[in-house]
Symmetry: C3
Subunit: 329 residues, 3 copies
């Protein structure tokens, strides 16, 4: 048991309407189907409403529309998923930072590590680095020359910050994240590639979360920028000189080529490819596995992911499209 | 020379029919085209049958159909590739584990590391971890609180197990694998993203192999599960609360979104995208670079990867499809 | 200020025609739009010619065609981007290697590390490894048994070289690169997967750059080969036994399946998928997000990336294609 909350408490704290006994207590979170007594669950999508009939949860966060179908105590509000997120944060608070530097960490003499920060085993903190108050640098992280890590930011394990990377406050960088590697820039000299020194850096705002093994390249001349509140999933690649606008969320395995500007509050699906030197407006939705090859100037939803069908049918689709195109040649 | 095997031995050991001298000896593996005397090669695909005519191998594993074309000694059976795998394991046995903990590793006082296990340089083994008999933890691995590693499992280098990860027996996790990072879960609060604590974990069965830089996220509430005998290639992303059924194989760069259930014995190609909250039946084949956006309820082969053609022809295909769709608007 | 160059110097050094005062000095690089006095910028693409009118740069590298539009000093030559690359290398020379092995690095007794090489904190250099003159092994790298690193090569952070990997001279391997993990090879034995030992290695030529978190698998029997001058971006996956021809460049997130041979001087876009056992000719261009399922025998440009459109229009395109294919069943 991580904690104990009464339904009355929850209703008051989150401004929800309670249908049920305010003295009932919940101790843990559960899915509707996996819940046992003492759990609180949620229904965020009416498509799964049938699960309300059989759940053994003590209480459920539901919308007003779904509430009549709830057989157990209901905590009713317009955004059940948000209510669930907030109670989950209450029941599972982030582990407290344990101030101090592990004996095996290698810290440059002139690095400034806040006394309230924690630096794990086998970390390397190079010259001129600043680690803010209550920051947590997990084991095996490497923070290179002149990088700055804001207050309350967490680097999990094996994170690399190349020199001069700037990370804001309350960020979370997961295992294997690489910030500030060289952008992919080469000039062609009669068949040989000549490297373009990448002299910009990466600046990441506040409240940014970056998933495992995601890579964000440093700028060629100016900086690559990730604004406040951006959420990046695992294994995303962000090219040099991109700007990702505030509160945009990007799902896993998406690749964004260099010098592309993405607006604020965009939602970009997984496996998307975005070509370079484009501009994407605010509030754009790009569905999974789409390819974006031209700028998008208006909010709205854009797609080109082709859904799989039975393989023989797919082969006919491809053949038909080829013949149609060849006919008009 | 890693070993020496006579053709007679091989025939008996693997139940193969030998056409040739049983006293001939082989010392090493080779491809048909690269073989020299003393090598054993294999022909798994009749398409390459012509190579039988010129190979310098001492012997070849072949199917009954291909055997008549073999000019050198033939080891004949229904599955030449399997025979090759088994003889390769004989000639190249896995290096023995050298029990002991490297002096530079940081091991929590209450971690239980089997005396027969090996822990490499610069590893971190946190509180409550259990490392099973003969497990090999390569250099630079980080095993976080409460994780369990089964007997005879190998973690190569720079592997991270987030807290409470469970890894079965005889697994192989390659360099840079991240198990148990937070799933990508956020509730929207008027344009801000509120983090959903990810309180499930990851449970991996026995005999699972996971390729370099692959990431498997921990569950949001319940666990992410990878069943026995699953084989995952490099740079795969598995979202929170997925279940991957036993003996399913997934090729590189594929992304599986959260809460998708994949059946047993599926074969999923490289670069595939699978949307979230889907269910894929047992024995499904998904060909490379397909996008799966709906559940698949029947075994069979599914596709949507579009093969490349000359760029001008491709542009005509796209233009033609657009016009056809716009006509009927 | 990293240095100071006069325009006259630059013109002489790079064989450019100067239109302007040869005594003017530049100190730093800039984009056309971000430039201030003392900066040199470049215009590589006439599409952005308008920026010449407002730039505050002291001088601009331009082509003869764009030169008449330049309001400030012009350094005129056929390849402004190359001129920029070269001057950038002058102004931002690579940091000098600081010879020596960090006290926390773990070096096998019989490893041969050149006295002029630098080995960073928490590195592991295993038995039989050779590290060439002036090589720089960044912190947290793991170089396994028998691997060889050529002169002047840089490994950034958390790079893993599996046993027997061969890296040429003047290479750059970015953070999280994994060279030589096992290829994805299994034989099927009545529903179980039997591992094929991967006994080849990886051989990388001279002047190769490999981006962050890219993985290159070792060969099954023979070696995986990356020839001289190849440039690989981030998060690329190269399967076992591939050969990538000299001076080929591959953009991020591309996956190349096993035993595929890619020619010389190819340019392969981001997010491309290339099936296994194919052969791609020299001088082939593959545009981003294409899927290659058959060998390409002629130089030229190939595509299959489908550009995103508004989602409702896209749904009509998919539906239309399905109906057309189903009609002729």
């Amino acid at each position: 048991v991580q904690g104990e909350l009464s339904l009355g408490d929850l209703a008051v704290r989150f401004g929800l309407t309670l249908k049920g006994d305010p003295d009932l207590k919940v101790y843990r979170l559960a899915t509707l189907s996996g819940a046992e007594a003492g759990s609180v669950a949620f229904l965020a999508n009416s498509r799964y409403r049938r699960q309300l009939e059989t759940t053994r949860a003590t209480a459920v966060f539901v919308s007003p529309e779904d509430a009549p179908h709830c057989k157990v105590a209901a905590l009713i509000g317009p955004n059940p998923y948000l209510a669930y997120a907030l109670v989950a944060q209450l029941l599972h608070p982030t582990a407290a930072v344990k101030p101090g530097v592990h004996a095996s960490a290698v810290i440059a003499a002139d690095a400034k590590v806040a006394a309230s920060a924690q630096v794990g085993a086998h970390c390397v903190i190079e010259a001129g680095v600043v680690v803010g108050e209550r920051a947590l640098i997990g084991p095996g992280c490497i923070v290179q020359e002149g990088s700055v890590i804001g207050e309350d930011t967490v680097l999990h394990t094996h994170v690399t910050l190349y020199p001069q990377s700037i990370i804001g406050r309350r960020c979370i960088l997961h295992a294997g994240v690489v910030i500030g590697a060289d952008g992919f820039g080469f000039a062609s000299d009669r068949g040989n590639w000549v490297k373009i020194p990448q002299i910009g850096t990466v600046r990441i705002g506040d409240d940014v979360e970056i998933g495992a093994n995601t890579t964000i390249d440093r700028g060629a001349i100016e900086d690559t920028i990730v604004e406040d509140g951006v959420k990046l999933d695992n294994q995303i690649q962000v090219g040099h000189n991109c700007v990702i606008g505030a509160h945009t969320a990007v799902a896993g395995c998406t690749g964004i080529s260099g010098t592309t500007l993405i607006g604020k509050r965009c939602r970009i699906g997984g496996g998307v490819g975005i070509a370079g030197q484009l501009s994407i407006a605010d509030d754009v939705v790009i569905t999974g596995y789409s390819l974006v090859t031209a700028s998008i100037n208006e909010a709205g939803s854009y797609s080109s992911g082709m859904p799989a069908v039975e393989s023989p049918r797919w082969r006919r689709m491809v053949a038909r499209l080829r013949r149609l195109a060849d006919k008009e040649k």
